[in-house]
Symmetry: C2
């Protein structure tokens, strides 16, 4: 039965890894110019969405208990404010590098984490609440963020031309 838990935990982690890989592949196909375009008229630009995803993933370090933020300076630009709130934002080349860095670092931690640790509470739940809501564990954070990534990946794909 322990094997089954390890299996299902791995399935969730692999579904995260697959989406990261898909996004990496898409970013390799999109030029800097394409990433500076809006995904649809009046909507977020590609660069904003990647910055937003970096910030979201960066927050996982604390929530899962792996360490501190790597890019705290992104929070104001890509999380607390909407796209186009700032006239000066990091270059696309920097965003591409930060995207790689944050996911590489998370991936290293994920690789080392034992199965049972994934079922421990995350940092945003109290011991009292966790007793009644054991689904608020560290694995739920990865499950949530892989869906969040899929959501924005669906938008970033629209930047491909022609879109298939």
């Amino acid at each position: 039965m322990t094997d089954h838990i390890a299996l299902v935990v791995k399935m969730v982690l692999d579904s995260w890894r697959v989406r990261i890989k898909q996004t990496d592949g898409l970013l390799n196909q999109l030029s800097d110019e394409q990433l500076l375009c809006e995904v649809a008229p009046g909507k977020n630009r590609g660069i904003y969405l990647i910055g937003h995803l970096i910030t979201a993933h960066d927050q996982m370090f604390r929530i899962i208990g792996l360490g501190e933020h790597m890019f705290p300076e992104y929070i104001n630009i890509f999380d607390k404010n909407p796209d186009k709130a700032f006239s000066v934002i990091p270059f696309v080349s920097e965003i591409r590098k930060s995207w790689k860095k944050v996911n590489l670092e998370l991936g290293k931690h994920f690789e080392l984490m034992p199965t049972e640790e994934w079922l421990q509470p995350h940092a945003l739940v109290s011991p009292y609440d966790f007793e009644k809501q054991p689904h608020r564990n560290k694995l739920s954070i990865v499950l949530f963020h892989s869906h969040h990534l899929s959501n924005h990946l669906g938008q970033l794909i629209l930047l491909k031309n022609p879109y298939k």
Copy 2:
């Protein structure tokens, strides 16, 4: 430990249910006219994406071993061919109803399925392959399709005006 498996299986099923609920909520906000629009210039229309999702979810009956397709007539329009390949497609009102029906029916089956059954092979894997690849189980189909839904949900949200 059995409790832990049931917990993680439930987490995956709940992540599916959450996305279905989010899509239901979005569809309630979007008018038929909005669903007939493209999510971005030259891209798929909302109605096509919903039809495509119905077809994808409908295929889960056979793959998970729950029964037969409910809407086989949609496959040609929404799966085997791109958007705008046909000048006559089902009305938005029909698509809305079929979306509800397919997910309601799947949901009923999901509710009744025992935890251990989720870890059994799906219909597309041979017993030989499954022995080496136990992740190719019925739960993986739900995990895949909840990400697939998130992906297209990210696109459907673009039909909202104004987009937040």
